[in-house]
Amino acid sequence: MTSTIKDRTAIVGIGQTAFGKGLDASELSLACQAISLALDDAGLAPSEVDGLAMFSMESGREVEVARNVGLGDITYFGEIGYGGGAGCGAVGHAAMAVATGQCNVAVAWRARKRSAKGSRPWANVNARLGGSNQWTRPFGLLRPVDEVAMLARRYMHEFGCTRDHLANVALAFRKHANRNPNATMHEKPMTRADYMKARWISEPLCLFDNCLETDGALAVVLVSAARAKDLKQRPVYLHAFAQSIPRQHQVMTNYFTDDPLLGPSWACARLLWQHSDFAPRDVRVAQLYDAFSPLIPLSLEGYGFCGRGEGAAFTNDGALEWPNGRLPTNTAGGGMSEAYVHGFNLVLEGVRQMRGTSTSQVDGAESCLVTSGEGVPTSALLLRR
């Protein structure tokens, strides 16, 4: 199968607000700030923007964003669902819209305020439960971490993953954040002992197996590959894009399928590599969605960096760490140590790696895998120089 969008679009601008907790600005204001910065980075005028792609959970709507930032006539807009699965999807939809001529300059973004009312998925305590929640919530499986911990325990049981493997993940990303001045955990080193004595949140997962809670916004600007050559930044080409809802999937509580440990990344990876000139062995840097540490071994397996059940062992010997690891991963600190903005910060770090401007720059990397949420309907991008 031939992809019609391969290398036909490029990310030419990136922008992000400061990361913090309890920022004053609204989600809409944060979105507008990040988009504005991304347009400045690209050297494009707001009036040239005619395409918008965003998370369906975004509280600042397209109309408001366009009115605030002073965008031109919009001829493409679209939304991607399922929270953390949507980041690469939004960028991919923007790319498809540009590649097919539905628009010329597209913006994709994510703005988030964790402190915002109702922003926690388990915040709604008033209504009687219908749908899938009635099979888990009544029994006290309340938070995303509880839902992932259930799969993590099974994964540890089936494949010999240990807390030391999960610590490998947390420690690698913390080290990268320690090198990134914009990261929440920039000046906060962590040791294996710190990890091991951290309080439990949902056993087998402790505090440091969880992502941060962060307010902030990030945006990217895409144009055609031809147009990108005339702009001020080194173009970062969108080489391949895929999404997936695997068969019989249930969002976050995928316990009812034949093999619950075969998550959405498996189906997503199949299409991504089919559309790509690169294979996993060619990829030397990755940004993998890390709302929770066990998602990393699962994603390493799903995207083909190792065999089934080998994801935990893959993390040994500093494999995820810059500069000498087999696959330096989440080189800005990821959701666990840079910021948790629903994984959109991973997209921007992928762009910086391809520009050569990461604070943990991987020398000679020609491509970078970026993934969105494992455990939900998901998406992935392969970026290239």
Binding site: G130, W135, G140, L141, E203, Y255
Partner: protein, 147 residues
């Protein structure tokens, strides 16, 4: 009515018969009337043959622990009061790919925080009991097969 616990709507479109079953002390599984495939959670259409017809089969109520977590704070107040407590997923004997989430308890009227977490084992056989919480009967699980 606002409940301290998050409870199912016993009149849910797809699951009302399941919750009527638990109120009678029966563990029911939705089964396609056309091709016989069982499905959890219940839903309107059979994914194997697209039939809209189904029946409810009574299961033995026996299974094994497939996985479990021990939840610690921060949690919603009613649950936080019980923390740390266990949540288990049970693979049902009739088909280990049919699973239900529940809690392990020590006795039929026991609480979900009474079992020592260090004693919970994946693969342990369990049997169902039903506990009333307000107007709903929730399936919970006790180690062992006998009464």
């Amino acid at each position: 009515m606002e409940s301290a616990f998050l409870l199912p709507d016993p009149d849910d479109d797809d699951a009302a018969d399941f919750w009527r079953g638990t109120a009678r002390g029966e563990l029911l599984v939705q089964t396609c009337a056309a091709c016989g495939q069982r499905r959890i959670p219940p839903r309107p259409m059979c994914p194997a043959c697209r039939s809209l017809q189904h029946r409810w089969d009574k299961l033995s109520g026996c299974g094994t622990i497939w996985s479990f977590v021990i939840a610690h704070p921060p949690l919603l107040p009613a649950y936080q009061a019980l923390a740390p407590y266990n949540v288990i997923t049970v693979a049902l004997d009739e088909d280990p790919k049919l699973r239900l989430v529940g809690n392990l308890i020590a006795r039929p009227d026991g609480a979900i925080n009474e079992i020592d977490p260090a004693t919970i084992r994946i693969g342990e056989p369990v049997r169902v009991v039903f506990q009333q919480v307000e107007d709903v009967y929730l399936p919970r699980w006790i180690v062992g097969r006998g009464q």
